[in-house]
């Protein structure tokens, strides 16, 4: 087994003309052919389009044009990112075969930077789940242990990067859907500040929380991808119109003089091995010159409850459009109400139905103030709690998930226990802050452990500097682990 090349290595080799994009692609397609059957990272491998995209990159290099920052880098896209003419299903039967007539903004930006899209990755249906088991196309398996989940909802993207199918993948993170599977699959996963990456063309789950972000096998690759996909987009009203932090250039700046807060609430209830790894990462930051202290943000204890009111409420509205009229599945019936009902009942899986009903209930007359209204106020408390911590600290640190990867089927029958696996990731979504999960060693069974770093809004530069230090200190075989070709 040889470590697969990073995106930084691929792009630099392709741009300098020492390696052909086509060769890079064929290597990754071979990796997919070898292992995809056992993992099911993809809903669709876009082999032929990838080949023509790679040829176009090579032609640009031959013609002396700059093919872009991600020249020839194979990229896997979560199947909730719209790709023009290429099926985009959100792993739902209700969208089976739907071909969007447009590209998501992040997809356009990746292509412009010379990336080669290799396929659409499996996910929890409409990103609702933490194990990729709610997918209508069947579960994705963790490349480190095929009997275990890869996490979710972006489990296919995490697994694709971990398995060496692509150096970079995009996911979406509404309550931890990038960071949690990144931790469970032993790769880097980053959720940007809300508004720094366009949501145009990301099929909405919970609009006020959703954010697109990168998976990579190195912090530098994640930084490279963030620099490519970030920035203002006029098609997204919530896109921030201010300079996006360019993080690639500050990666080596270190943490000298930074204050790192170890977040007590994230350690509570986590497995001892996960807590031990988080503490070890904090020590590594201290060794690199950071001041490390314990901090408490008690408000985050309310985050899970608030999240499971806000996200389903928004989702219940976002998912109303799957009604059998304009696109996607239709189950015929005598009248339109019956047709809508038959279509949605057949097209949505149990978890989607559960959350749509939860959200409909939370918004319905009589419960709006008690549930949704209160949850929005709790969101304010959480933001204030973090603000207090960030008066003292530059970054916060804790586990990404309370446990390492759990066995398939272990939690599907118990929604609440599944939801609890996002307890450490949800607070930053509610606050809109950036966070990153960096692999940091393994548990006794050899399963990856992720350490999470959190930073204030728009402090991606600080976040990535700390992440680079943690990555460099990671035990052998975790920091750049996983990928084989």
């Amino acid at each position: 087994m040889t470590a697969a090349p990073t995106a930084t290595e691929v792009a630099s080799a392709v741009r300098s003309g020492t390696v052909r994009a086509a060769t890079v692609l064929e290597g990754h397609l071979a990796a997919i052919d070898a292992a995809e059957a056992g993992i099911h990272a993809f809903n669709l491998v876009t082999r032929e389009q990838a080949r023509s995209d790679a040829a176009a990159v090579d032609a640009a290099v031959d013609a002396g044009h700059d093919p872009g920052l991600l020249a020839g880098v194979p990229v896997a896209l979560k199947d909730n990112l719209c790709t023009r003419g290429v099926p985009t299903t959100c792993s739902s039967a209700i969208l089976a075969g739907w071909r969007p007539p447009y590209d998501a903004t992040v997809v356009t930006r990746l292509r412009r930077a010379g990336a080669v899209v290799v396929g659409k990755t499996n996910m929890d249906e409409f990103a609702m789940g933490s194990s990729t088991e709610t997918s209508a196309t069947g579960p994705t398996r963790n490349p480190h242990d095929l009997d275990r989940v890869p996490g979710g909802s972006s489990g296919g993207s995490a697994a694709a990067v971990a398995a060496g199918f692509a150096p970079i993948a995009l996911g979406s993170d509404t309550g931890g859907s990038i960071r949690q599977p990144a931790a469970l699959c032993g790769v880097v996963g980053m959720k940007p500040t809300y508004g720094t990456v366009s949501r145009y063309g990301l099929v909405a789950f919970a609009s006020s929380l959703d954010q697109v972000g990168p998976f990579a096998r190195s912090v530098a690759d994640a930084a490279l991808c963030f620099d490519v996909i970030g920035g203002h987009d006029e098609a997204d009203s919530t896109s921030l119109n201010r300079p996006t932090p360019r993080v690639l250039s500050v990666l080596d700046d270190g943490v000298e003089g930074m204050t790192v807060g170890v977040l007590a609430e994230f350690l509570d209830g986590a497995d001892p091995v996960v807590v031990a790894r988080a503490r070890a990462a904090a020590e590594a930051l201290a060794a690199a010159g950071a001041r490390v202290e314990e901090v408490s943000v008690p408000e985050v204890a309310l985050a899970l409850s608030a999240y499971y009111l806000i996200a389903p409420a928004e989702a219940s509205s976002n998912l109303a459009r799957y009604d059998g009229v304009r696109f996607g599945l239709r189950v015929d019936a005598d009248d339109t109400v019956a047709m809508n009902t038959a279509t949605r009942s057949a097209g949505f899986g149990a978890e989607v139905k559960r959350r749509v009903m939860l959200g409909t209930y939370a918004l319905s007359a009589g419960y709006m103030d008690a549930y949704y209204g209160k949850a929005l106020r709790v969101r304010t408390l959480i933001i204030e709690g973090f603000a207090r911590a960030y008066q003292r600290c530059d970054v916060l640190l804790g586990p990404t998930t309370p446990t390492t990867a759990f066995p398939l089927g272990a939690k599907v029958g118990d929604p609440l226990s599944m939801y609890l696996s996002d307890v450490c990731t949800i607070p930053t979504n509610l606050a809109g802050h950036p966070a990153i999960s960096v692999p940091f060693g393994t548990d006794d069974a050899g399963l990856p452990v992720g350490v999470q770093l959190l930073a204030p809004a728009l402090a991606e530069s600080t976040l990535f500097r700390a992440a680079a230090v943690v990555e460099a200190a990671a035990p052998d075989g975790s920091g750049r682990g996983g990928g084989t070709t």
Binding site: P101, T193, Y194, S237, T238, L302, F327, K353, S364, A370
Partner: protein
């Protein structure tokens, strides 16, 4: 602390399913009522909080006046749009009988 809402009932779940245009079998109704009750019980820590004086946050990032100029842009090709539709007639989206006007 204030009293939280009463525990969700099977009838309420059935009502919510109708609002959401979902048909549930009796078994699903039973299962979902129990599961939603557990989730909502967990949410009681939020529902019972006294948050008088705390402003709601709808957007984490406070931004205002995001506007677009009133300039036409080409839309989608009609054939492509209609090709994706389950049923089409006369360049329009065809739907079964409507039982009433829009609410």
């Amino acid at each position: 602390m204030t009293d939280g809402p009463a525990r969700i009932t099977r009838d309420e779940v059935a009502h919510v399913a109708r609002l959401a245009r979902l048909h549930l079998t009796d078994a699903e109704l039973e299962l979902f009522t129990g599961q939603l009750a557990v989730i909502l019980d967990h949410a009681a820590d939020v529902a019972t909080l006294d948050l008088e004086g705390v402003a709601p946050t709808a957007h984490a990032m406070a931004v205002t006046n995001v506007l677009r100029s009133d300039t036409p842009r080409p839309g989608l090709d009609r054939d492509e749009v209609l090709a994706a539709a389950p049923d089409v007639e006369d360049h329009r989206f065809r739907v079964p009988k409507l039982l009433g006007e829009a609410p």
